[in-house]
């Protein structure tokens, strides 16, 4: 139990809050971000139980994490697809996302079989998501009709993702180097960056959860 409590981090608690808020808001009507409650539920199960279980029993949870991270990237792309579905270029985006999902799944299965870890496809998916999030911000300022985006769940959701990805991106590229050759620096530096990114991501979820209801 004590071990498990040590496993729990601040961002886990924020994610639980986001889940509770989404659950409460769910009673007031369907949310603007679709399947958000399902996504948060799955995320919590992975973050708090599956990941812990693998770390404890198999002493390595990287594959679980990369599977979970790829799933998250897929969900982010799904939300972005929903958001941009009326744009003329939406079809291209659907196709690119579809191709990415197929290849990411294919290589993920390969990674699991070989018991290796390569964040390339995750990075590509997140890179694609980040570009579209930047497009979202651009549209808010220059293209779309004015609206108060600070009451929009997607704003917090996308902002959280962007902060998370920019903070973890350099580490994800060189994650093997950090974890293999410089464990000490890696653990402190990586740990700090990861915690920073995760807290902002969870805060993004919480912001989205608070705003995520149709009024």
């Amino acid at each position: 139990m004590a071990n498990y409590l040590k496993w729990i981090e601040i961002y886990h608690l924020i994610m639980i809050s986001a889940w509770v808020v989404t659950l409460i808001n769910r009673k007031k009507g369907d949310g603007i971000i679709r399947y958000f409650l399902v996504f948060l539920s799955v995320s919590l199960v992975f973050e708090m139980f599956v990941s812990y279980y693998f770390a404890r029993v198999y002493k390595d949870n990287r594959l679980v994490l990369v599977f979970y991270a790829t799933m998250c990237a897929a969900y982010y792309l799904y939300v972005l697809n929903e958001h941009f579905r009326t744009k003329p270029w939406a079809t291209y985006f659907h196709v690119i996302s579809g191709i990415w999902l197929i290849l990411a799944t294919f290589f993920l299965v390969g990674d699991i079989a070989k018991n290796t870890f390569d964040p390339l496809w995750y990075n590509l998916g997140m890179g694609l998501a980040s570009i579209l999030i930047l497009k979202y911000f651009y549209d808010v300022v220059y293209v779309d009709e004015y609206r108060n985006v600070f009451r929009e769940p997607k704003m917090y959701f996308f902002l959280g993702i962007l902060i998370f990805f920019t903070s973890s991106f350099p580490l994800l590229i060189k994650i093997k180097f950090l974890s293999t050759y410089s464990q000490q620096i890696g653990s402190t530096f990586f740990g700090l960056m990861r915690a920073f990114g995760n807290i902002f991501l969870a805060l993004g979820y919480l912001g989205a959860a608070i705003c995520n209801r149709k009024i």
Binding site: V140, V141, Y146, T166, I173, F177, F189
Partner: protein, 269 residues
Amino acid sequence: MQQEDLTQIILVSFMMPVLLSALLIWFFISFQRRKYRYESEKKDAMLREQALVIQRQEAVQAERNRIAGEMHDELGSGLTLIKYLSDSIGARVTDSALQEDVGKIAGYSSGLVRNMSEIIWAMNSRFDNLEGLISYVRRFVSEYLDDRGIEHRFVCPEVPKDVTLTVEKRRNVFLVIKETIHNAVKYSGAEAFRVKVSFGDSLDFLIEELGGRGFDPADFKDKGNGLYNMQKRMELVGGSIRYERRPEAMCTHISLPLEKQPTGTLKTP
């Protein structure tokens, strides 16, 4: 090589948050500008719309005044002429049947002149206020009851200035008062009337019938549309009408809500 990698990572790790911060700063500044522009445009559009509404209201008022003026000048003088000519013919003819018919023409003409006067009063924007309504009601009560030799008293405190009343409200309230007095005279045999006016959150008329049987609306509930129409008229303007039997008099309360303006003056909603 390893050292170079590490330096690269640390460099990129610091560069990314810097770039992200720059991006977020750009976003917030641009968004605030957009918001400011939007609000200014919205305010301008609202002002333009208000100006348009005022312009339209002024045009409608001008048209109402024009029609009222022309009705007064053209139709009013024509009808008055018919009345005088009828009276003149009636005085000269000896045939009693013809005299009766001519008398009817004179009577109808007088009725038309009175009704037209009411329409002109309702249409004229000069009277779109509380003072206009009160003075018209006072005049009507006085003329109507004087003609029938019934005693009356009109009690009214000083009328607040600058309280606007729409045509609809003025006309409906006036017609309800007119109908109330007419019913009371016709059916209750009232010997005297007291009309009290008061202002608060609403404009209230209290019409007291003194003497006689007292007009009881319950007796007329299923007869004709008069009472129903009065109720509807008051509902239409957001007001109410109710009857109260007191030992000394039958009372009719007519109430029209007034809205307080920030300056302390009153305005209808």
